[in-house]
């Protein structure tokens, strides 16, 4: 089974380091939530793990080999990313977008093989997007768009799924449904699934492991009940939240 490991990761933009020494080991089959306040470095960490941002120090290893040694095509067959911003001015249909997941497999002129077509159909089914296939992406609701983008990532047939705030813009029911679906996929198929989440309760209920990023470092990492304590939450988010530690898994409510 694949593992994705970051060691002593230092990374950032322009002159500033956003990540200041991250060590993280991710294994297949577990649902990992990446939480932390705005600007903590969650997205930067995800981009490094995806190979989209080259770290200044340390390394990311995929299955023991440096990620930086893979070219874009080889990397996209192993790691799929669901970005926070996904938009285009052009009127692509959902099926065309899911087919983009095969970019790293098709030849230069883009002819889809029977295997490519099967992967696209399977991804659409797994993301519950089959009924959307022929519709223009721009006409979809937020939840439907999220399913289309998830299907695109699934069509990459990658062992690693990295999602940047996959539940933003969704109502609570769709937030839960999206994460539950993702979790099922991770467990059933032994994939690594990491999602950046802002909703701490979703992280608590729908993940096996919660990683807390604060000021470019990992300050807590473990099962929801171990990590989501009043002490940790106060230290990272300040004092506006109350953790109901007696609940299993813990619940977090804002203070009045």
């Amino acid at each position: 089974m694949t593992d994705l490991v970051a060691t002593s990761l230092v990374a950032g933009y322009a002159g500033e380091d956003v990540l200041r020494g991250i060590d993280l080991e991710l294994r297949g089959g577990e649902r990992v939530a990446l939480i932390g306040p705005n600007g903590a470095g969650k997205t930067t960490l995800l981009r490094c793990l995806a190979g989209l941002l080259r770290p200044r120090g340390g390394a990311v290893l995929l299955g023991g080999a440096p990620l930086a040694a893979l070219d874009a095509r080889a990397r996209a067959r192993r790691i799929a990313v669901v970005p926070q911003n996904f938009a285009t001015p052009f009127a692509f249909t959902v099926r065309e977008i899911v087919a983009l997941g095969r970019t790293a497999y098709v030849g230069p002129f883009g002819r889809l093989s029977p295997h490519d077509r099967a992967a696209i159909d399977r991804a659409l089914a797994d993301a519950e997007g089959a009924a959307l296939a022929e519709r223009p992406f721009a006409e979809l609701s937020g939840g439907e768009r999220q399913r289309a983008v998830l299907a695109m990532a699934l069509a990459q047939e990658a062992d690693v799924l990295l999602l940047d705030e996959p539940t933003v813009h969704l109502d609570p029911v769709h937030q839960r449904a999206t994460l539950a679906r993702l979790g099922d996929l991770a467990r059933e198929q032994g994939r690594i699934a990491v999602a950046v989440l802002h909703d701490l309760n979703l992280a608590s209920v729908l993940s096996d492991r919660v990683v807390v990023v604060h000021r470019g470092r990992i300050v807590a990492d473990g099962a929801p009940a171990e990590v989501l304590t009043q002490r940790t939450i106060d230290a990272v988010f300040g004092t506006g939240l109350r953790v109901l530690e007696d609940r299993v898994p813990p619940a977090i409510v804002p203070l009045a």
């Binding site: 070219d71 996209a76 996904f86 065309e96 970019t103 790293a104 223009p136």
Partner: protein, 336 residues
């Protein structure tokens, strides 16, 4: 929103439209020649006067117009994918103006160095311009429409001044100012089959380059991070698109000077019929651009006959308002 049509239908209609437009453009002109006599001449069995007019005057010009339209249509589609903006076009972005500086210098040297020097210098000018605009308009991984259009406008004005200076200098050197001016205003001025075949080769090669990048261009239309995540080598693809669009623009400018807005109108219309996937969009833009410019050139020749208009005047009259309609529709998303 119009529904898409089957690709086979669209390509068949475009090919038939191109054949029809070329036939009519050959038949009409200062001397009208009936279609059956046009076809006879093309088959090598026409009357000598017909054949002289058709084969040495009209055919090179009509084919030249078709090539210019194809080149600009594809260049527009490529730049729009790279910049993720349907307003991108080699004329609007100043690429054509940059190519015209190179081509003007090339024209002065052509007498001594041969015709190949014109597209070569035009390519250098186009590549320098588009690379410059792309660099200067970029903010992080994004290219906001305002900085893009401003950079294009200012570059066009600057290049226009350079060309004007060159023309004044050339006048003092007693070169053919009137010819150069007519070309610059967007007139298809094909001087030889050699010139046509050079342009055809460049346009064909660039189209192939774009087609080969088709699926990666689709990915790039969603942004650089998304494309990279999907397995696209974004830097390499960017270079390919910049070079291919510069080659296409240079070919068009060498043949017909500054012909505006073809790259804006054609991809937009084709996307409505076929959808945005580039492996279909690019060849359809080549055909659609060819039809558009053959018709525009025909109108330019016959509208005020015997006076000929530069074809750039016709495309400008159609494309200018079209650009403003697109800008108006997008003003919400761009906060203009």
């Amino acid at each position: 929103m119009s529904r898409r049509l089957p690709a086979a239908t669209v390509f068949a209609a475009l090919a038939a439209g191109l054949a029809g437009a070329i036939a009519i453009a050959l038949a009409l002109g200062a001397v009208a020649i009936p279609l059956e006599r046009v076809l006879a001449s093309l088959a090598g069995q026409g009357e000598p006067t017909d054949s002289a007019i058709l084969l040495s005057l009209r055919l090179p010009r009509v084919l030249g117009a078709a090539l210019v339209g194809a080149a600009l249509g594809v260049a527009g589609a490529l730049l729009q994918a790279l910049l993720r903006n349907p307003l991108a076009d080699p004329y609007v972005l100043g690429t054509s103006a940059g190519a015209s500086v190179g081509a003007t210098i090339g024209l002065f040297l052509a007498a001594t160095l041969g015709h190949l020097v014109v597209p070569l210098f035009a390519f250098a000018g186009a590549l320098a311009s588009i690379a410059f605009v792309w660099r200067i308009a970029r903010i992080g991984p994004h290219t906001p429409v305002v900085s893009l259009l401003l950079a294009g406008v200012v570059l066009s004005a600057f290049a226009g001044s350079v060309v004007a200076l060159l023309l004044v200098l050339s006048d003092r050197l007693q070169l053919r100012l009137a010819t150069v001016l007519a070309w610059l205003m967007g007139g298809v001025s094909v001087v030889s089959w050699e010139q046509l075949s050079i342009a055809a080769t460049l346009v064909g090669a660039s189209l192939l380059l774009g087609l080969a990048a088709g699926p990666r261009l689709d990915a790039l239309a969603f942004g650089e991070d998304v494309a990279a995540g999907l397995g696209v080598d974004v830097e390499r693809l960017t270079r390919t698109v910049l070079i291919a669009s510069a080659l296409l623009t240079a070919s068009a400018v060498s043949l017909a000077g500054l012909v505006g807005f073809v790259g804006l109108v054609v991809p937009h219309a084709v996307r409505l019929l076929l959808g945005p996937a580039h492996t279909r969009l690019l060849p359809a833009c080549a055909l659609g651009g060819a039809v558009f410019l053959v018709v525009a050139d025909l109108v330019a020749r016959v509208a005020l006959a015997p006076t000929e208009l530069p074809v750039g005047v016709i495309t400008g009259l159609v494309g200018g308002p079209f650009f403003f309609v697109l800008l108006w529709r997008q003003r919400e998303s761009y906060r203009l």
